[in-house]
Amino acid sequence: MAITHKKFKFTVWRKVILLSAVVALVAIIYLDFTIRSTFTGNKWSVPSTVYARPLELYQGAELTVSDLKIELGMLGYRFVSRLESPGQAIINGNKVAIYTPGFQFSDDLEPARKIELRIQDGRVAQLFCDDGAQLVRLEPLAIGGIYPSHHEDRLLVQLSEVPVPLQEMLIAVEDDRFYSHFGISLRGIARALIANIKEGGISQGASTLTQQLVKNYYLSSEQTLTRKAKEAIMALLVELHFSKSEILEGYINEIYLGQDGPRAIHGFGLASQYYFNRPLSALSIDQQALLVALVRGASYYNPWRNPARALQRRNLVLDIAVQEARLDSDVAEKAKQRPLGVGGASVASSRRYPAYLDLVRRQLQRDYKEEDLSSDGLAIFTYFDPLVQISAESSLSTALGKYESADKSAELQGAVVVTRPNTGAVIAILGGKDGRYAGFNRALDARRQVGSLMKPAVFLSALEQPETYTLATLINDDQYSLLQPNGEQWTPKNFDLKDHGDLLLYKALANSYNQATARLGNSIGLDKVVDTVHRLGVKQEFPALPSVTLGAVDLLPIEVAQMYQTISSDGFYTPLMSINAVVAPGGKLLTSYPLEVEQRFDSSSIYLLNHAMQAVTHEGTAKSLQWLLPELSVAGKTGSTNDLRDSWFAGFSGDMMAVVWLGRDDNGSTGLTGSSGALRVWADIFKQRSRLSIQNLPPQNVNIVWVDKDTGQGSQESCENAIPLPFIVGTEPEEEIRCRRGASEVIDWFKRLVDEM
């Protein structure tokens, strides 16, 4: 009996122990699963880095000293008086010397080299490289990382890119036994326990780097015993699955180091850009120490708000590193003498381009799975031009700032898409008035009525029938009325509410007359107009209603850009692209996005259209460009919609194409026409960034003929009212007006005689 009782007691105990062991085991397995699934998923691997276009340097390249200085500054170059190591540059008047660190591009390795150049009149006048190269690329600016699930633009770093002194200081200050413990420090726990018992609660932590990392990922910041236990078990498990360098790399990329408005700064890579405006690898010892100092309290030690506190903490970091024999004392002493050295807060935080990254992400998603992008450390090379982006940002915010001050209740918004003609490269995007913050990307997502921006498609459809329509064909602008299939009368009105009678075809486009355009479009045939819009590159389907001719179609700014891209490229369709190539770590090219061109329109029809669109900027609705951009010849079209809800301008020069939209998210009236709103922003961007006038080369089958500007009859250069217009051979008007008399006629006769001999 006694034995049975004893046996019974033993069995109960055994069961209790067994049960708790099972519970603990299940808990551990669960935690283990959590760690393995998330840590091996995206967090522990390096996401893709997105690069801007590289700056190409060669003799004759368009470049100013100030732009080069901005570019070098963004790339983290230090301006010195003697070139000693890569990442340094000297600017001396118009002479610049650069020591590049070299870079692996998708097609080639650009080696580290010393470059000397002289800049004159906005061009590289002379270029000399120590290896004899005539054409060199600077390394491209990293503009963000692809984190599809988080929509963050972090700059993740690999451990090899992290300066060794930074790693040493971090370990000295936060966890000096990091390389010897197995996730938790027993000594630390014992010390903390004693302190906690003394104070009667749980207040002191003794976290290893591993524990801090676990805490950052999974756990709330409350101080309870269960949380502490969970943290310890998970830390042990992490150590079991990952190497010390993987853990350190994870920590360096994860730890919270500051707050930039709504954006949390995680990781040393982004923090380096945020505080110092340069990559982590380019930081001096004192700057590295400041980042380590921020680990303990990014807000408390904020170098802008609390500089004295930050300096004290930074020097403490340096002292501890010396104490722990992880830093030479003379190096530390030197570093302690230096000021905080943080960049201007506004400069640092403006270096984010969420709208462009948004486009990159969407284009990548056609070819890549989210997991691959966030984990494989790919290098993504884009056409992004930070200099153009910065100009576009300032142009838009200046313009919107001006209008806002007049009427605060109307929240005016805007979107901008800038591309390169011929190549279809998208070089800058603004999705809203504040280019820095991600949010509603109007350039890619705001479908708005395009109004008169549609008119070039109507006129192009006409010019594709050269036997019937030339630029000098008289068309009628009297009141126009059409009975629609639904039984309603459609009677569009001109913006100035006037009729303009008969006028030359090109003038109807230049002045954006609605009555003439509606009549022209509906007599050509709506199916033809719709077909032209599709051939220009708009993929979206829309019904062929009579009002299509006046732009009663909702399109995205990026779709409008595609349409005008084709016009700017002489009728060749090229899909708009942000990405050039995707490269795996190590340099293997994964995907390239080759240039595609497809001729969709006859060169002579496009040539005539471009001539008419140049007239828009010379004598039509955009003639203010004559004094806004006196030195640049451009083609474009204004667009305004009913009640002035949308203000558009789309146009191009020889080296740039841009679409600008201004409007309100609630679709309320802006009080702006295309020319009083969007055109100003457009002109400002082109004034800053475009250097080449439109190059509208007449095809061989086009002749220039003088015609009367009111009747379109053939005329002569010396006649009053005569203007030159291009015609496709065989469609020129006969010369009906003659006004040469006397001597000039005789001279002409001799001229012809000489020519014939």
Partner: protein, 149 residues
Amino acid sequence: MSFVKKVTLLCVPWMLVACSTMPGKAPVEEVISPPITGEQEKPEVAPVVKPQQAPVDSVAKAPPALFSLLQRAQRQEQDGDNRAAASSLERAIRIAPRYPGSYYQLGELRYREGAYRKAASLAQKTLSLGAEGRLREQAKDLLNRAKAH
């Protein structure tokens, strides 16, 4: 002599011709610019767009440095690395997007790869950018060959 070598030789003369000219730009038209006296003021005489009369003067010249890139593309193709050759040529196009010669060379590359439609489009682009002289003849020839497939 191999086909590639022949093509290379054919290309040399127009390269030299282009090499001998400095980079320059020719604005297509004169702009009559009214004095800057205020946004609302209108010029007295409406300026007229003057069409360019001599197309030949406006064909884009390439900067001298571009030719090292075009030659590199040829070497890359000879070495059998078409992808590298194409990306060198595309880089050349990005540097000087209006220079017709780069499009032609890319067109020939696409033709030899059997991408005849792309080759034809690139030949058309070469012509549209005002290719002249020998390059014009070559581009026309490429267009005919590509269209024959």
